[in-house]
């Protein structure tokens, strides 16, 4: 079973703002029953201030889909529409202390629902880009525009990452070539080149992956005494390209300071590695995929 963060579990077991909002003036329906996720977001906007006074959701989906919906409503309440539209799927995931990589698409769905609800309030037709973009992933109806934007917003560089964030490519995998083409294009804009299959990409600083991992370990080692003094610890779980998965244990796990600590560690790692990296707190074990029903 997935090993969710305490925050995800909390929002799944006691979802905030679940149910219908009778005086909603903006409604966003997104998702797809074939994918196993669907979400209706209802918002009540104060026309005078453009502020979201209340938000509710109804979700068909797994634990992390329900938790992401709950988090989304908490995040947007009290925000103006313009502020709310700046919320990214990463913000939703961060609010929940991270999601397992394969579940990132749940947070993407939350962001889409928000855009749809705001468009609905403003009386605009929310096109969801799908009319514009070429349909790439036919299994999950994900188009080129959506993939491109997600790659940009999250600095993705591999097909696997794109699948984790958008679901595209997670079904029959026949669109992997199409996803690669988009990656080639967006990475070129960033001045990088796409390396097919090179999951943990060779480090830009000329370090081999092993050297990089050793360096990361050294950084973590250097801050370990400090964590231990506070009764906690950190464990390196995986390095996947620019994403570094760690598990916080002991007093650090789920504590208020965790996010702050992680930010500090991320900063330090970036300085040491001289490249942009993202640190993702994950429970030990969460990275192994559950296998098909045995």
């Amino acid at each position: 079973m997935w090993d969710y963060s305490e925050k995800v579990k909390e929002h799944f077991f006691q979802p905030r703002n679940a149910g219908t909002l009778d005086d909603a003036n903006g409604v966003g329906d997104v998702g797809s029953i074939s994918c196993g996720d669907a979400l209706r977001l209802m918002i009540k906007v104060d026309p005078a201030t453009d502020t979201i006074l209340d938000a509710r959701f109804q979700t068909f989906g797994c634990g992390s889909a329900i938790a992401s919906s709950s988090a989304l409503t908490e995040i947007v309440k009290g925000k103006t529409l313009d502020e709310a539209l700046k919320v990214t799927n990463q913000d939703i995931a961060d609010y929940l202390d991270g999601l397992p990589p394969e579940k990132m698409h749940c947070s993407v769905m939350g962001r889409e629902a928000l855009q749809a609800a705001v468009a609905n309030y403003r009386g605009e037709e929310w096109s969801d880009d799908h009319e514009e973009g070429q349909l790439i992933c036919k299994c999950f109806a994900v188009d080129a525009v959506m993939i491109e934007e997600t790659i940009r917003a999250n600095n993705l560089s591999t097909v696997q990452e794109v699948t984790n964030y958008t679901k595209a490519g997670g079904g029959c995998s026949s669109c992997h070539e199409g996803i690669e083409e988009i990656l080639v294009k967006v990475l070129a804009e960033r001045g990088e080149s796409f390396k097919p299959g090179a999951l943990p990409e060779a480090a830009p600083s000329g370090m081999t992956n092993l050297q990089r991992i050793k360096k990361i370990e050294a950084v973590l080692e250097s801050i370990r005494p400090q964590l231990k003094r506070d009764g906690g610890d950190i464990e390196l779980l995986d390095v996947d390209g620019k994403t570094i998965y760690v598990a916080m244990t002991g007093a650090c796990a789920g504590c208020q300071m965790e996010a702050l600590t992680l930010q500090g560690i991320q900063q330090k790692l970036m300085e040491e590695l001289k490249e942009f990296i993202k640190i993702v707190p994950t429970k030990a074990g969460a990275l192994s995929r559950a296998s098909c029903q045995p």
Partner: protein
């Protein structure tokens, strides 16, 4: 571990008597059965005994027809690859769309290697069409591989009859009986089944030991070549302790067979009826009239399976789901898809699989808890309103 374990098709607890039987083979009886000295003597005998215990459970004619392997998956691979290598003039395989990945993934690879694989479709109850099957059988068919019982729904396949038809076409017949062995009586000597796979951990033996039954006279090509173990048909020093454990478990399964088909079945039926009586818009998947006595697979419409499992787990109840989200595959179970179960229900399927260790009190507890959980999730569902599906169907934009 405290809690209610209703996931026995995934794996079972090792019976204490099985553990007891195994223990000496880690310590005093550590010898290699192939050795000439007396350290190995007793071990050879223990394996022989285990072979006969399994022979009896399968109703095999000879104990030499039992080959110990490392798992069900190895047995499946060995059987299918052997049939293809032993009959190079035949290039086709027939199987079903609802096999376990142990067979399906191998078949997908065989197709890449240039073999033709025919996948029998199933109807809404998970049954194959015998006329379609007959048409596919030709002098090109090397092997037919059909499971005895499906792991998700428990639905049986008419393997005895299918084996006869395969033989009439000169093809070999293999059955993945991983879910059936130990739960239903099997008498291989009276059938035309050439090969059968079983796995220890589904019948209260340890994980990592399995059996391939190979009918005497069936042409065979080993998967692992090396030493002379298992008469050269499966090289590699025997996993002695686990083999002894599997033998013990086989004997105990024989003894419990009647109980499995009366008492366990009664509990399963009670569980199923109890849930269906209290939960609207829920139905049994597969063929309720012809299935394993321990398995019950229920589709709960308009909610998602992983969420159900998480809530069940909170009550200490372990089950499993064909939902996409539990597997990380993003697709709901291929078995549910093949039976044409609509997406609104396929994502919400939950499998309860019992064993002889479960009790009536556990069944009562699950019957009490499930309706609450389903109602709680439906309250969150955009497809649901009050006590039925929303009148104006929820139709979201694809995201």
């Amino acid at each position: 571990m405290e809690g209610i374990y209703f996931d026995n098709n995934a794996t079972t607890r090792v019976d204490e008597k099985v553990v007891e039987a195994m223990l000496p083979y880690f310590t005093e009886q550590f010898g290699n059965p192939s050795s000439m000295h007396s350290f190995g003597n007793k071990v050879g005998l223990a394996i022989k005994k285990a072979r006969m215990q399994v022979q009896e459970l399968l109703g095999a004619e000879h104990d030499s027809e039992i080959i110990f392997t490392s798992c069900g998956t190895e047995s499946d691979s060995t059987a299918i690859l052997s049939a293809l290598r032993a009959q190079p003039e035949r290039k086709e395989v027939i199987t079903t769309v609802v096999e376990h990945p142990a067979v399906l993934t191998l078949c997908a690879w065989l197709e890449k290697e240039g073999y033709k694989v025919h996948y029998l479709k199933v109807d809404g109850k998970g049954r194959v069409d015998m006329d379609e099957y007959k048409k596919l059988l030709t002098d090109q068919t090397a092997i037919v591989s059909v499971m005895w019982a499906n792991n998700e729904t428990g639905t049986f396949f008419p393997v005895v009859q299918m084996a006869e038809l395969a033989h009439a076409a000169g093809a070999m017949f293999h059955t993945d009986a991983v879910q059936a062995v130990g739960k239903v009586p099997i008498d291989l000597k009276s059938t035309k089944i050439d090969m059968l796979s079983l796995s220890g951990h589904k019948l209260h033996a340890p994980k990592g030991v399995g059996v391939l039954y190979l009918k005497r006279g069936t042409r065979f090509r080993p998967l692992l070549r090396g030493g002379h173990q298992e008469r050269g048909r499966r090289a590699g020093t025997e996993n002695t302790a686990s083999i002894v454990g599997l033998g013990q478990a086989a004997e105990m399964a024989m003894e419990a067979m009647a109980f499995e088909n009366s008492e366990v079945k009664r509990l399963r039926d009670k569980l199923e009826a109890g849930i269906l009586a209290k939960v609207p818009r829920a139905f049994v998947t597969g063929n309720p009239d012809d299935r394993l006595p321990n398995t019950c697979n229920i589709a709960f419409e308009f909610i998602e399976g992983e969420a159900i499992l998480l809530l069940l787990n909170k009550f200490g109840i372990a089950a499993s789901s064909g939902s996409a989200c539990t597997s990380g595959s993003l697709e709901p179970s291929h078995v549910m898809r093949a039976m044409g179960i609509p997406y609104t229900a396929a994502h919400g399927t939950v499998r309860f699989s019992l064993s002889r260790y479960n009790t009536e009190a556990e069944v009562d507890r699950v019957i009490a808890v499930v309706p609450e959980i389903i109602a709680q999730l439906r309250k969150l569902s955009p497809y649901w309103d009050g006590d039925g599906p929303k009148a104006d169907a929820f139709a979201p934009t694809y995201a």
